[in-house]
Symmetry: C2
Subunit: 192 residues, 2 copies
Amino acid sequence: MKNILIINGHPNPDSFNFAIAESYKKGADASGAQVETITIADLNFNPNLKFGYQKRTELEPDLLESWEKIKRADHLVWIHPVWWGGLPAVAKGFIDRLFLPGMAFQYRENSVWWDKLLKGKTAHIITTLDQPGWFYRLSFGRPSVNQLKKSTLGFCGVKPVKVSYIGIIKNSDENQRKKWLEKVYNFGVRNK
Amino acid sequence: MKNILIINGHPNPDSFNFAIAESYKKGADASGAQVETITIADLNFNPNLKFGYQKRTELEPDLLESWEKIKRADHLVWIHPVWWGGLPAVAKGFIDRLFLPGMAFQYRENSVWWDKLLKGKTAHIITTLDQPGWFYRLSFGRPSVNQLKKSTLGFCGVKPVKVSYIGIIKNSDENQRKKWLEKVYNFGVRNK
């Protein structure tokens, strides 16, 4: 049985991203998978890695618990909006604070290479957009996807990483949103 | 005379990014340019745009002052490290909180297009890396650059945006760092 972890990176509980996370969870629950969730907006932590990588910052209990969930998971489902070509700052801070050397990866001594410490896991990025997915790819080089899929998850050994774009959100009506939620529910059912 | 604004996005005052910002400033001062600075680590603000775009969050005085500096500037020099293919969370939060509809851009009614409200400005991104610049481009698709150059500054009408990579930082010696600082000093002198 798959252990699925849903990581919701939207700061606002009234956002459509929360409906997406809920719909995925319903589908995954219906499939009989083990499902855990991290709602970044609910965590108590400082998103600022204030000493950078020069000095360690103590991890808050909510981050420690989140890391246990990540370690337990076979499949990570990241749900977030694209803001300025990236994740919302608080979701980026979740990564900055938690994906640390010795935890998510480890540089090898006197080498440009590194060990990938999250090998064996897979992921799915479900991202909401206020522009068409193809436009985001062609005009902007889909930076949030390259950031999360390649520079973060891939860097730590998570693969394959599936990507789904949902949008355009700002012009969407109820009917369209219902269809998107059904699509996401089916991702959950199939543990995609 | 050019009005140059240096925006330093590294959270840690002991980081090499601070030496870079200082060196650029010295060069720009020597050229006789007007130079202002924003050191994001020194600002008092919440990087989390907690209601997203559904409800406005009051801007803190430090953000209001930062926006005045941005408006006054002809040339924006962004200095930041690449963390997980993006800007540090606090620097991303500076953008999330400040680059708001009606300030940095404005969607047109019933249209996918928008007005770019920062037209007429130019920029230079000076970014530190722990990998070679070419590797960052080819393997990861240089997401932080696409994020800041295209999806943020370009989206708001800032162009052209020059990009300089400085690195590999983690293996660099004093001599190499001195050379980088001289290079950045010369960018300052030439108002690049």
